[in-house]
Symmetry: C2
Subunit: 188 residues, 2 copies
């Protein structure tokens, strides 16, 4: 039962969404949207096959007229039990691998203008994600307060992860705003 992390990430997403196609999931796990897990469509289709043959998810084919047919998946009871068991295991520490920071660290011998551009791109991407998360938050909150949403049986957990995404992206924007003038001063 070791090292099936992508699987559990898919399960936890299906738990919240109820049903989703491979394509839907590839959007959820895309870098531009994903809050705590990214995966390529290829990884997802491969894993979904395995999960289906292991009986942790089941597929239902949705016939569409103007769009290609799609297979939507949902968690089975066995899949839900597997996910529940996973919450009781010790999670692996997150492995950070940030190419932009490698560039910032090496800016002394490198190209400050290019690093500036990359930091600007990070700021823009982070700001866009932030706006996206804030829209979700407003939808979930409705007219409730933060404490009430956190206490909600279904959305409390997802809201905690959303709050993490929110503060992470805010931090990204703030760091980029700090770094940009420092790096600009290095452009010869």
């Amino acid at each position: 039962m070791e090292g099936m992390a992508l699987r559990h990430a898919i399960s936890s997403t299906l738990l919240v969404l109820g049903e989703a196609s491979g394509y839907d999931l590839s959007k959820e796990f895309d870098g531009a949207r994903a809050n705590f897990w990214v995966a390529t469509p290829q990884q997802l289709y491969r894993e979904l096959e395995r999960m289906e043959s292991d009986g942790v998810i089941v597929a239902r084919t949705v016939e569409q007229e103007k769009r290609p047919n799609k297979r939507v998946f949902r968690l089975t009871d066995a899949g839900c039990a597997e996910l529940a068991a996973f919450t009781a295991t010790t999670p692996r520490a997150t492995a950070i691998r940030d190419e932009l920071m490698v560039q910032v660290q090496a800016v002394e011998v490198g190209d400050p203008a290019a690093v500036c551009d990359a930091v600007g791109a990070l700021r823009d991407a982070a700001a866009a994600k932030l706006a996206y998360y804030e829209r979700i938050e407003r939808t979930w909150l409705g007219d409730r307060g933060r404490a009430e949403l956190l206490a909600d049986v279904h959305l409390g957990g997802p809201y905690l992860t959303l709050l993490r995404g929110l503060s992470f992206e805010r931090e990204n924007v703030a760091w980029a705003e700090l770094a940009l003038p420092v790096l600009r001063a290095r452009i010869a």
Copy 2:
């Protein structure tokens, strides 16, 4: 020249440290210390071999009396040029994969007490890293101000990455403090 990210991460570390052994680097890239890149000793020894045979680093054997001999590496001019060229490329977006968040998302069907323990462990690990980064910051700052250190030709870049690590770990601690009471309330 695609996908040699670990290599550039090693190069940028050697740029700051000057010289380091595989063992030294395995400490720098360990999850408990690493600011923006983690790698196992096995990855490092494998990559260091390749880097040496490609001439981007050179080794020097340091004979020790009470300790096993070690081979310390430093960047060559070719290695420095390669690193400089890397700073001008578009960095890949960081891939987030956080098992703890998967557990938090699934807490509704899972084990809230176990998830609480895991969040507590995150808080402790983040607090320890924060203290470690703050020690480094004090050392680098000396009696200078933040702006002066950022303007330092050699340490300005590394200080920017350190500041990012600092705010990231502060954010981790703050999120954990917010999440803990919410999750505790779920323990039946």
